[in-house]
Assembly symmetry: D2
Homo-oligomer: 136 residues x 4
């Protein structure tokens, strides 16, 4: 079964103080903020943001699977590595969050997404994006 | 294999305006805010909050699995039904989010958690909580 | 100088766990989430939400002034009392946040807003809203 | 009346997608996230974070005054310039938010803060910080 995967895209961030909760570590929901932003940056890098808007295409997350591996704290520097993978009409984002100083993995997130058209109906992955997925 | 499950606890909420993102629906990360609060309310209802603090026990989420089933919008009224399940030294929270007016499921979230002691080491599920889990 | 004020509207909320920061109290930015929601609820109560959308009118905050008076903690029950006041082409929202159990004021927020039309130009306060402001 | 002011500190950020609300611009509360982080960065740059923790000193915001001047959108690059000013036992933070590309001011925030000791009582501005404030 051939899988279509993209190259790996990177997004860097530094943990902010208000992202901590009363336990003093980054709150569990904030990891999804980080991965969402990694996807926005990826789409910008591919030059697809304007295209999606012009085509009235939106991308909607239908599943998120987060594995929290190490606690993350104020001023930790993280890299989010993201690889896209096509699976039927879904587009998967495999996010790997690492501390850039310790080189240790802090979390893994898989986001499953689908594109919807102007009638809010699921549609194919846009051709403009498909060209960034390659046979492995 | 005997499983220990709790009864089902409920938490009600109404979607707030600032929880929407630029797509006009509740942002994908906000669902984890809702389920976190469902757990805080559950622990309060069981009278365990002060006990956990007194015992220097914290509960840490090690995994979140979110399935987004229907878009949720401003002023939607939701119920979060939560059932706890013991699995080895992990405590699972099965969250079922429904629109109370349409009675339709909007999301399902499974959170896997572990308790840690004052040295940040994983420890057993506190006995004070175990009494709310029963054989099925 | 005649001022036009509305009656006082109320919005009730309970502090959620993820709204706390690493100091264990509600984060300073979250008060603006509370007051924003008080305004959404007010507009819904007045039946103005659909009207504003139909007229392509948006309300934009141009100033927020927050006085934090007492720290607010997990499960505190708050009431947000809101009174609107017209001042030239601005609409002011005077928000008074109180703990419903202690009856003590926890914060005061004044939000200054302006309506904008479909060209993003400032416009008059909609007539549909003006009828809820009265001479004092 | 002599005023004690610091030099101007800078913090750079890029607007993230989840910081937008349903109006497609940065939500009004998020500006307080930005200015809070500017203060965390400032304290880190001054080497004061560990000192404050060691001395059991916390800094609490008692007032925030935000003027929103221009709407801010996805991927806008902002600089937050921050100057501290001592006023009696209060420490003021004057934040100036600018778009680094257009050079235009997007918001101004003044945060009034007070230090509290381990008994949650207001206390003097720590001497370790006072050395960064100078006569003008």
């Amino acid at each position: 079964m051939p899988h279509n995967k993209s190259k790996i895209y990177t997004y860097y961030l530094t943990v902010r103080g208000y992202e901590l909760d009363s336990y003093g570590h980054v709150n569990n929901a904030v990891y999804l903020n980080y991965t969402e932003q990694a996807r926005w940056e990826l789409f910008r890098e591919l030059g697809l943001l304007d295209r999606l808007i012009a085509d009235n295409n939106k991308i909607v997350i239908v599943e998120n699977h987060v594995k929290y591996i190490r606690q993350v704290r104020l001023f930790d520097k993280l890299i989010v590595e993201t690889q896209m993978e096509r699976s039927a009409h879904f587009l998967l984002f495999h996010h790997h969050l690492m501390n850039t100083e310790t080189k240790k993995t802090v979390a893994k997130v898989t986001a499953k997404s689908v594109f919807i058209d102007e009638q809010n109906k699921p549609c194919d992955i846009p051709a403009s994006l498909m060209e960034f997925l390659r046979e492995e």
